[in-house]
Subunit: 504 residues, 2 copies
């Protein structure tokens, strides 16, 4: 409404003014709605902004001249090495990004870390239906569920085994177009990867170390808080003991506490229970009970509920309204995946309606949101944050060139957007910086600089589930980090080479 | 504003109602802004709508099950044969689509027709810099500008010549990704094609026949009016006579009149002068003079001005404000290409500001419009029509999967959209139906049927440059055709096979 009034006011003015004055006025009006546009910058921030804009323009120009060198338009499997040489990426890795609000339990760490866990003792492998299963066993008590072979033996006997193993632990391929002709093939590969790593990760010693490492990688990437979605698979011991959902939440909480003790600047982590959407009415009842149990045991840590998995394939939110209402009554909030689809008018698209009607606090992806103008307006005016995961949407084949991602419009129009990594470990990413980079370079205007990045960081805290006290603490920590970052940037501490120094 | 008030009203209501009633209310509210949603359908139209929706759902389901079979998500060079077997496409070809408001002089006819013109006498060819040039000469007076060889001789002496010739007359390739890795390569091929066909088309007998054929192909596709952009290359005779811009406009007007005499249901055609944007201040002055001359000579036929060519490469509107203001003072309207780009914040993107400030009547492509919220709101509220050319944007590499085309959002949000073919002959299309098909199947919801198609046809007339009397005539003719079409559809005249009949 404000936008329309401003637009009309501006257009009325235009009939009297000088062309170039009017043009500048209209451009300013247009930018006024961008995420971050209302932020005032300090003197130092203004210098940092100019520095970043200068670098951004140079990188854009390289891409403009040769689009094969423009990462945001390329598939991430191809763009990653280019991104890693970018001065803007360097800056973004150092920038205090606040928090990570959308990522999944089994894909939280870098692929390198997880691969290194396969050198642990007592790890067995079994190849079935094209999927490689992994599991730790006590050598005296190996399950007969599959033809389990010691991984160490496979390693020694098969020449290309490491390549093979790595390919099973991630969906990265040399030629993504050939490997995944359509969305169905890539989702199949994605789900197979989950099945491969689950037995490796849910071994208790790995599980604890894995989650600790996940937090460490976030902190290394200057992210100080996370909300993790997990489906709580049973964790196991070598002696066969299984840890149930409540105990697994306990492990998460414990590791978080330990990590915070080790790194006192880290704000923490919270948990969103997110079982697979492939449920029935019966299993959904069981999910309700699990949620109630873990919520009542860990009310501060378990902040809400979601359903996950390939949305297009069915099990829409609308099928489980009574159960979801019951979940809501147990406390916490909804953080639903909704509209992660290009199939306009299908059930996955209509999930957006249910997510909003069920009063979701944030939406996962909401890729199709803008195709629903009234709904989009409601999401915006009610401040329901949209968790945008650019690389995920590209890798899982919703969009190729990220300049066509609908979040570009959301960012320009001031939607409550946060940018998150989804499943970074599965596609060779790590932390938030890769997603922030492609969003910054591909989804914002050439003239958009530090204000956007700062607001994105602030959004990631203010749209989190932290309570008022925690949020104040998080913002305080972020402010310290931010000022340090700006100081460092202004003092040129992040670049050791003249090439960059001379652009300031 | 209305949208926001409705959204708020709806959300207030939601707190009191039954879940499923509220959900339905919200969905209805969301659809209310879609193009065509306010149209009331007659009883027959309602039957036709149900018939179309049934077929649409079937085709969508085929694509959903196997995305390799979903044309709107595939490159047009691959999807064309699939489209041609579609019952929905069959219906769209028969549907009275009103008018064609965005297409260019040298690409107006099907490739087949133009290729057939190469069998005329006295056509010579010359290969230079990878571009094949064509020109007719009197055998006694061949230009020495190039090493011209009689095409007939080349035909006889080179085995793969027909393949070669066809490849030079269009940008269609077996593997478009390999042939055109980036936007730069495809624009190069596109411009080479222009250079190849220009000497063939501007030969007076071909020129007249070509434009007549263009109108015939539109009429065959149930399009009864066109606004053609042309840059008025000199037309030539075999005896060396050159026809200047004013004479060339005269030829267009003459052919249009002749065509209307031959087909009395055809409403007509008008002309938008659209020289290449690669101008200098001096040549732009010359364009001003040409425009003034042709506008004063053919005020009813020449309706306005545009600048064309790869927008990203420069020559933005902002460089020629004084000249453009002078053009405006000569009468007619602006129909600027603007924002045909993915480079957010670059000069091509900012063309959108100038186009609106210069009071353009319609915008060509405006692909980047939604990234400028205030501008977009102004375009919408002022009824500046957006000429959407989906296949062009795909083939010229702005977007791969047309479900990601921003027009999907514009259509949902009730922008003044028309759908047009741009350069159909260059990529193997013909008429408007291919573009309408991919828009209908890829950019609208599963539940969107006849209302959208009807409104799109009406838009193409109401957003044309026809004066009030002409427009009334065009609408009257369209109504006759529309009623015939609906009658035929309801009587099932368009399908000879049971497969389709049984779905009603």
């Amino acid at each position: 409404m404000k936008k329309l009034i401003l637009a009309i006011a501006c257009l009325i003015n235009l009939t009297t003014g000088d062309y170039w004055t009017d043009r500048e006025k209209l451009i300013q009006l247009d930018r006024a709605s961008n995420i971050g546009s209302t932020l005032n910058l300090t003197e130092k921030e203004t210098i940092a902004d100019a520095f970043i804009l200068n670098l951004k323009k140079q990188e854009l120009q390289v891409g403009f001249n040769d689009p094969k060198k423009f990462p945001s338009a390329l598939h991430f499997f191809k763009s990653r090495p280019i991104i890693e040489t970018s001065p803007i990426f360097n800056i973004i890795t150092r920038l205090p990004k606040g928090s990570s609000l959308h990522s999944h339990d089994l894909a939280l760490t870098s692929q390198e870390y997880l691969y290194n866990q396969t050198f642990r003792e007592n790890l067995y492998a079994c190849l079935t239906d094209d999927t490689l299963l992994l599991h730790f066993f006590n050598p005296n008590n190996i399950s007969t569920s599959c033809e389990w072979t010691l991984l160490k033996d496979l390693r020694e006997n098969r020449l290309d085994f490491e390549e093979f193993l790595k390919s099973k632990m991630s969906i990265v391929r040399d030629d993504p177009v050939k490997a995944y002709p359509t969305i169905n093939e890539v989702w199949k590969g994605f789900q197979q990867t989950f099945r491969t790593v689950v037995g490796l990760i849910t071994y208790k010693p790995v599980f604890e170390g894995f989650f600790y490492q996940a937090l460490r990688e976030l902190r290394d990437d200057n992210v100080k808080y996370a909300e993790i979605r997990g489906y709580l698979p049973h964790v196991y011991d070598l002696d066969g003991r299984l840890y149930d959902e409540e105990e697994v939440v306990g492990i998460y909480e414990n590791v978080t506490r330990r990590f915070k003790e080790d790194f006192t600047d880290f704000v923490g982590a919270k948990f969103i229970y997110a079982p697979n959407r492939r449920v029935t009415n019966n299993t959904m009842e069981a999910e309700v009970q699990i949620y109630k149990k873990i919520r009542s045991a860990y009310a501060d840590f378990v902040v809400g509920f979601d359903l996950v998995g390939q949305e297009d394939k069915g099990w829409p939110l609308g099928d489980y309204i009574p159960q979801l209402l019951e979940i809501r009554s147990a406390g916490g909030h909804f953080y639903f995946h909704a509209g992660e689809t290009n199939w306009f008018g299908f059930a996955s698209d209509e999930d957006l309606f249910d997510a909003v009607l069920l009063n979701a606090t944030r939406l996962g992806h909401a890729y199709a949101l803008l195709k629903h103008p009234a709904l989009a307006e409601a999401v915006k005016s009610r401040g329901i944050a949209v968790e945008v995961c650019p690389i995920s949407n590209q890798v899982l084949k919703l969009v190729d060139d990220l300049r066509n991602h609908p979040a570009a419009v959301m960012i320009a129009d001031g939607y409550p957007v946060v940018v998150a990594p989804d499943d970074p470990g599965f596609w060779g990413a790590r932390g938030l910086s890769y997603d922030w980079y492609v969003a910054f370079m591909g989804m914002t205007s050439k003239g958009t600089g530090l204000r956007f990045l700062k607001q994105l960081a602030l959004n990631s805290i203010t749209y989190s589930s932290l309570n008022a006290t925690e949020m104040a603490g998080a913002l305080k920590q972020w402010k310290v980090d931010w000022d340090d970052f700006v100081d460092g940037l202004v003092r040129n501490e992040y670049f050791g080479y003249n090439e960059v120094l001379k652009v300031v």
